[in-house]
Amino acid sequence: MTLAQDTSHQPAEKPMPRNIRRSAFVLDAHDPQLATRAFNSHADAIFLNLIKPGNPLWPSQLTTTLPSAIEAAAAVGAEIFIIIESSHLEAQLNVAIYSGLTGIVLQSIEGAQTLECASNHLTKIEHERGIVVGSLEIQVWVDNAVGVGECLSIARQSQRFGGFIIDDETLCRALGMQTQPTLSFDPLEYIKSELITVATSVGAQAMGMSYPLGLTRENSSPETVKQSIKRARDTGFKGALCAHENWISHCNVGFQPSPEEVDYYRRVIEVFAEGIRRGMASVPLEGKMIDVPVDLRAKLYVQWAQRAHQRDEEKIQASNKKRPLTA
């Protein structure tokens, strides 16, 4: 029996995290190698960037190429989001929304009203284009002070809200903070904590990396990346925006329970179930006391691991079906 098939330990709680979205990677929608790059990335989510750096003009040819770009990127099993600039909200939504998208990533948000406008406009587009109404998700890329200061009202604004994306370098710059890792502590520590808490409070999740790697975005050694992911996961992030392609595989492994954790929590479940059968409210395991909350957490962790495994299987199957094409 594979991990994904084992459904014997289903917790009664809501699934945690809501989505298996451990890694996100930005690709250019106009990149002729988009399909190949998406195929090779293995990211859980791909954020398609519509605007070429240094060219603020709207690329009109995208309206004809975007559907195939979305299809090509989605063919490897990744969730596809389009990056939308809040200052050009409706214009960009009008040309960027097609079937096959999971949602959008809003940048430079100007408050909860931006999310409301985006949500209303998405509803209109969903009606017009035969997309299930309410299905498109909105992620918020927190790149300014408003995104932090009004995070609670933003998160509560719409059922479409799926989470916060935290990019340390952009946010530090917006807040007038250092953009070099000079401090001995993370200047965004409490801001990240707040965004994670707010996102979780509405059933969404936050993606981000720990300090200092989140700020430097260096192409560091695998060990450094793994350690940074561990700290990020311990902080409460459920995934990260990957600055480099080679962060992705580490994120996919690091933002889920490790095999050792799964083994341990399986034993917790077994030992506690046996204790319950014998009429006990708590039982010892390896010197620790196992009671109802620990058992519940164990079930959630095992389920999390199963869902992550299932997500990997989906991506493998999708990749096997589709060979990379040029978008």
Binding site: N144, A145, V146, V148, G149, E150, C172, A174, L175, G176, M177, Q178, T182, L183, F185, P187, L188, E189, Y190, I191
Partner: protein, 239 residues
């Protein structure tokens, strides 16, 4: 907006203790009606204020007045004269209070021929409620130009941790810098360490506190000793 890194707080009344002249001019001189003036001398301090403001205006020194919250109405009336650039309000907690002071300031500006709306307000946050309400306090009046972190280690009874820092102050400074940046106000504060806070910090410690605050997004700080002015200016000048 002029460069306002160092905000030197000085008593309105002459100090009985010898004070060195700062080696550098403070970007802002804050004439104090609060802690540096004994209660029995408040009335005399208010009377002395007008002339001092005129003198500072003559030498083009930016001058703010820190009022005492408990005697704010009398203090605001005493401070609103030619030469004043703004008021520093310590320990605000409710937006309504800021709006009330704004109304009084507008009345004083009319009566005394000052440009309408020209006198600024700097909020010096000092309490849990004040920090929590930072955003609404800053929005309570268009005069608010800066949000400052005040005596949080004292008012919130923070104790130094083994790591030799006030962990809560990082959280409070984060809240303040977000509110300030969101609303286009200048964030004021220094990352003081236990035992080296404010008045007892030497120039080296002051410069380090300013530098770390600058890295956290702050752009100026209050200080009480003239020898801290250069340290503050340098700390907030380094990139």
């Amino acid at each position: 907006m002029p460069c306002r890194r160092s905000w030197l707080i000085q008593s309105v009344l002459p100090s009985t203790q010898h004070q060195d002249k700062p080696s550098e001019k403070a970007d802002v001189l804050v004439l104090d009606l609060e802690y540096s003036v004994a209660t029995r001398l408040k009335s005399r301090a208010r009377q002395a204020l007008r002339e001092q403001l005129l003198n500072l205006d003559a030498i083009q020194q930016s001058a703010f007045v820190r009022i005492d919250w408990s005697t704010r109405w009398a203090d605001v009336r005493a401070a609103m004269y030619r030469g004043i650039q703004g008021l520093v309000l310590p320990g605000p907690e409710n937006p309504e209070d800021i709006a009330d002071i704004d109304t009084l300031m507008s009345q004083m500006e009319r009566e005394r021929g000052l440009n309408q709306g020209s006198t600024q307000i700097v909020l010096m946050l000092e309490s849990a409620r004040g920090f929590w309400n930072a955003q609404s306090l800053a929005q309570a009046s268009p005069r608010v130009s800066a949000l400052g972190v005040g005596r949080i280690d004292l008012t919130m009874d923070l104790k130094p941790l083994p790591q030799n820092e006030f962990r809560l102050s990082r959280y409070l400074m984060s809240r303040t810098v977000v509110a300030a940046r969101m609303l286009g106000k200048q964030p004021l504060g220094a990352f003081w360490r236990p035992g080296t806070r404010g008045g007892v910090a030497n120039p080296t410690q002051t410069q380090e506190a300013a530098r770390e605050a600058q890295l956290m997004g702050y752009r100026g700080s209050f200080c009480v000793n003239p020898d801290q002015v250069a340290a503050i200016n340098h700390g907030f000048s380094s990139e």
